[in-house]
Symmetry: C2
Subunit: 478 residues, 2 copies
Amino acid sequence: MENNQIKNNSITRQEDDFAQWYTDVCKKAELMDYSSVKGFIIYRPYGYAIWEQIQKYLDKRFKESGHENVYMPMVIPASLFQKEKEHVEGFAPECLIATKGGKEELDDHLIVRPTSEVLFCDHYAKIINSYRDLPKLYNQWCSVVRWEKTTRPFLRGAEFLWQEGHTMHASEEEARTETLKMLEVYDDLGRDVLAIPFSKGRKTDKEKFSGALETYSIEALMPDGKALQCGTTHYFGNGFAKAFGIQFQSKEGKLENPYQTSWGVSTRLIGATIMVHGDDNGLVLPPEVAPIQIIVIPVAANKPGVIPAAREVAQKLVDAGYRCKVDDSDKTPGWKFSEYEMKGVPLRVEIGPRDIEKGQVVIAKRNDGSKIFCPIEELADKVHQLMKTIHQEMYEKAYKYLLDHTTDVHTMEELNAALEKGGYSKMMWCGNQDCEDKIKELTNATARCLPFNQIPNGETCPVCGKKASKVVLFAKAY
Amino acid sequence: MENNQIKNNSITRQEDDFAQWYTDVCKKAELMDYSSVKGFIIYRPYGYAIWEQIQKYLDKRFKESGHENVYMPMVIPASLFQKEKEHVEGFAPECLIATKGGKEELDDHLIVRPTSEVLFCDHYAKIINSYRDLPKLYNQWCSVVRWEKTTRPFLRGAEFLWQEGHTMHASEEEARTETLKMLEVYDDLGRDVLAIPFSKGRKTDKEKFSGALETYSIEALMPDGKALQCGTTHYFGNGFAKAFGIQFQSKEGKLENPYQTSWGVSTRLIGATIMVHGDDNGLVLPPEVAPIQIIVIPVAANKPGVIPAAREVAQKLVDAGYRCKVDDSDKTPGWKFSEYEMKGVPLRVEIGPRDIEKGQVVIAKRNDGSKIFCPIEELADKVHQLMKTIHQEMYEKAYKYLLDHTTDVHTMEELNAALEKGGYSKMMWCGNQDCEDKIKELTNATARCLPFNQIPNGETCPVCGKKASKVVLFAKAY
């Protein structure tokens, strides 16, 4: 069969300028637009719909594991924000602050939430009294504001959409379990929904969340060799609980402070999905989050019966549970092929007069461009199987990239060389922050995580030469 | 069967102090809590879950009618906000304004969105070029901030959750149709989901939205005789489009300004639901929005087999698609009855040793307290039927109240007497705003709407005595 695809040449090629390619895709696939508010983006329908799919998966998982959604105020009084010292120091430089309400100057300025730990703690102090009130497993879907100097669509912005879980537990053990359990939920999202293999692990103290005792993260590797932190979970111990006077009477009748966690993922996941899977023709979306999973395109649409046949095929796929559309507009098939490739639609179904005669359609896979013929009566089954295959292929491709770009390093020279090449540098670390600082200073790379999968590749720290037992992944990062 | 219900006496009775009853229910049913941010409430899990049910229904209806969700920035530059004069005048007095970002003073202050017309228009100006780009049917789920002096949970607050639809159309007719169509969707929500009969109609010019040409509303009557505006749809003509330079090339090749609508409902609907259906035992929730539709309570739970039987019954109902929980805690049945009455759970299923013997359960309806026995094997069918009955009964009760509290008035004396009694005063109106102003001045009542159902009850305006052809509903309002 003739290949009548038309390459969309209006976006920068990845190898020419990856950052520009990314921006081009964000705009051309109509995922977002810039707004008149500096640093704030508009989530356009196609981008927002991806977020809705992510929400749907996570919200279900959260609820299944006993979490409840709530909604807290979008602003935090400055007086309240200052209660936990480390926390406020971490966030103060990037806060947007409201100082006027109506015609009045506000005595207590209001900080537009950069995160809501303090609001949850303030509320928990009121509603937690007894061990019977625990655990409290709350989650919130909202947007937060971080006053960032340099912004990039989905990756770093003045405002982004996210979920923030905030939980309180009677015991340290239970809170620690929650911290790791939610990281697993995020990891499942990567594996089963976004087709992204995450590296899971603990953050170094230098990289952890302001106010947390421990931070865990999922990290993904981008095609430019840089790591992207895609989600974090935090274990707080009872530091905030003490600062906010949250106490409960234990089963034994003692007054105790509960143990706290928080965890979040954001629309940054859209950025990860764009980069991990995209190519020079645009987006390549994993089937689970694709707003349109199948696009049906009539070929030689002016011939009698073609448009009705295309619509019938599309309806069949809608009935089978797919997000499927037919494009029967008067644009050329070539234009349409290029458009839906740009939009990363996983499957394209073509149907023309000859196909109708033969009772078949052509199915093209976005992820590798391959095409097959399929009898119409087998279409739903075939599509079902192809969707699974596509997801698997996308995951495996990303996983292979991850493996190919993880380098074992044992010396500073090797580290430099590996970071130059891009990807993760896996090395032993003595655990001393000085060595971590030095790497950052020399290479601008940061410790992404101490991966759960701790398989030592040496015995000494490449920086100080001292004995080292921790495996750490370093990389340049977004 | 013995009536072992325990009245929850910890809330104020409606007839003693309706406003206090309302606040008591909001707190005791754990729908909300006050936060440390003056005027801002916390949407607790039980309250937020009601909102999620409302969202689910509306989001489906919006999408089915071709609307797409987007997300716009939460702040609006002051310079942009001032582009449409009437609009800014209406909202400026109640804006929360950010003046600092990070350590810097902002040149262009940022207004926390009270509504997003200007952001949508600013975006539409960029993306609408041709008639092919129309209509644009966008919706946004978010929160907005109005710096209100006096606030009441769900009814009037500094921040509330809502959806705002913003659409652009090539023709005036299409935009007008959209304005009325979305009002119908809201009306359906009332009839089919909230069991609230809304009065639909057009707002007078005095009461319309700042910047709109026409505003339509759904109004509900509360048990204290006051009306509550529950949602509005606006037709803007092309005023904003001109102010923001939104133009498209028509099919005929002419440059034209598109026609605009916006429409919204908010968490105020939760307030309406609480008031319309609640009683002295607490909330009474319509089945469609009840976070828990059925509570199963084991009676004599210490007897062998009771708790497993209760769990089995609950599982059966979960499998049948209901939001059903079993309370097998060690609290007394009396405490539990009272608790789930407070929470307005539509059906309570009781099961004790004698019930198990007989293969039956007791079902109690929250809306009228009636009880029946039901063989366990018929339970799912019976529940299905009861849920329909409850919804219908609740709607009819509210509708009867509405009819009983709508008084035909023909003179100022009758108007005064009717408003004193509470409810709607239906009267003829000359259409002159002076007469509307005078009623407000004398009685503090406002024109709620010119109902679509225009059945004249006279020929002259009670205020000026002049010829009048418009039917209007006046009431004191929230």
